[in-house]
């Protein structure tokens, strides 16, 4: 026991935390994409596990092929747009349920990504890593964090602006009440396709930056991305609501999506520092996400449920029975 505590080094935790902030910011872009699809369009977009990896493999292969790394990121973004649009079209044009559309695209993307990558894993040559803006190397970490933070800030600003335009308002209305949106002349099918495309564009961009950060891309980097993104969105929502209550607005919500992502990675860093098996964290996170997604329903159920009413009525009868006997 003592040995265990002695083995925990505080500087190592600080180090892990700095890395976690960087990771959180990068995955924050993914979480913003999921915020767009899940919270604004009300669609759980299963594409992201695939499109995140697509962003990563496209970026790495282009850099290996001699592309400028920042130009490669732009291509990653567009690759993601296409992934999301495909999911959107499967749903809007062919009538396949949203979740299944996403799963199909994700499934197909595994093959696509593997073909792009050529093998299961590609590492960027050291020479190529020199001119990357995003690097996990401790010497460059503070610079990476700064650049990523500015970048994420710009993305939040653009998203906030977009969601308040006529088009963005139409997209939000589609997510809230499709029937109303159509009655107001909004092409809800087009809105879903565009929204999913944008969301997966952000996810792929996040994947591209992530692959630069680690100087490599793996066919499996996107595994579980949807849950991490959902967890970030949910943590962000809960924290934002706890701090701002009724003053919560769209801009704060967007900012706190990224805060949620950073919190997620700091918790993960802490778990790793405690030398707990980090793969078990997936179980923990799944439980936490399930709990938070259930909270609104449970609150409702506490106010009104069949079993609750049955119990109260049984009690009343019992009391009546008791009086009758007396």
């Amino acid at each position: 026991m003592l040995e265990y505590f002695a083995s925990l080094k505080f500087p190592a935790l600080m180090n892990n935390c700095t890395g976690a902030v960087g990771q959180g910011l990068i995955w924050g872009l993914l979480a913003l994409g999921i915020f767009l699809s899940f919270r604004m369009l009300n669609i759980a977009d299963m594409t992201v596990d695939g499109s995140f990896a697509t962003g990563g493999v496209v970026c790495v292969m282009l850099i290996i092929g001699g592309w400028n790394p920042n130009a490669a990121l732009i291509v990653s973004f567009f690759a993601g747009l296409i992934c999301g649009a495909i999911t959107g079209l499967l749903h809007a044009a062919l009538g396949i349920p949203e979740i299944l559309s996403g799963i199909l695209t994700q499934f197909a993307l595994y093959a696509v990504n593997l073909n792009i990558l050529g093998k299961a894993n590609q590492t960027l040559p050291i020479v190529k890593q020199r001119d990357l803006l995003f690097r996990a190397n401790t010497d460059f970490l503070p610079r990476t964090i700064l650049i990523t933070a500015v970048f994420v800030g710009v993305v939040i600003a653009v998203l906030y602006w977009y969601l308040n335009t006529e088009h963005g308002s139409g997209l939000r209305a589609t997510g809230i009440n499709e029937k109303m949106a159509r009655a107001q002349g909004i092409n809800t099918k087009a809105m879903k396709v565009i929204g999913l495309a944008l969301a997966d564009g952000l996810v792929a961009l996040s994947g591209g930056i992530y692959s630069q950060f680690y100087g490599s891309a793996d066919i499996n980097i996107g595994r579980g991305a949807i849950v991490i993104g959902l967890a970030s969105v949910i943590i962000g929502d809960v924290v934002c609501h706890a701090i701002f209550r009724k003053r919560m607005n769209l801009l704060l919500r967007l900012v706190f999506v990224v805060v949620g992502s950073i919190i997620y990675y700091i918790v993960q860093a802490f778990v790793i520092w405690l030398k707990l098996p980090s793969d078990d964290m997936k179980l923990l996170i799944a439980i936490v996400v399930a709990l938070f997604l259930a909270v609104p329903n449970l609150k409702q159920a506490r106010l009104a449920s069949f079993s609750g009413l049955a119990r109260r009525n049984a009690k009343l009868q019992e009391q009546k029975g008791g009086e009758g006997n007396a």
Partner: protein, 264 residues
Amino acid sequence: MLEIRELYKTFNIGTINEKHALNGVSLKLNPGDFVTVIGGNGAGKSTMLNAVAGVWPADSGMILIDGEDISGKSEYQRAKFLGRVFQDPMIGTAADMSILENLALAARRGQRRGLRMGVTRAEISKYKEALYSLGLGLEERLTTKVGLLSGGQRQALTLLMATIQRPKLLLLDEHTAALDPKTAAKVLSLTRQLVNENKLTALMVTHNMKDALQYGNRTVMMSDGRIIVDIDRENKMRLKVDDLLRLFETHSGSALVNDRMLLG
């Protein structure tokens, strides 16, 4: 204005639940007509309005607005010409958006939605004034989420949204049926006010015979997916609810017995 020609719609074709909901219904409205629509449950009233709104394509027949056949257009494309209020107060508005945002969405019905701001400062005073005319105090609550409003308030707001961008035709499908009598009366008088002020052409389905006679300048009765009686302004003024019931019986061969209608 609106002309419906020989419209047919069958639901669940080829199944045991096959239902001929519209059997060649035809109806022509003149500009400024405010037509109330009555008929038994399942007569096809909602189906007729949904066909006009383009919720699904009709099997055959034409729907003309100002002489243009719109039956090939999808629901969101037709919205340009139509204002709609539904029976369920939840359907007409976006609960998670503010009163202001809902009105701004409605004001852009039929226009291209681009990257201009969704709500501009210049619109706000216009909406305040319009809300003030409802007399519900909503003009003081512009940034309130619509989900926090009562059913009656939401229905009044939906009415305003349906008319703020003047529609060629207003479609009201039992839009007061889910409200308590007092609120229903208030929303009905608002309906009349908005229709008169904007000189709108309107189709209003109601299950309340008194309302059907009292509102509008024309009443049509539906049965079995067809219009069986068409009552003009002069006759409408003379008729009582009892006459209406008798008219229905003679034309449909069955009684229009329905507690909801008698009591409502």
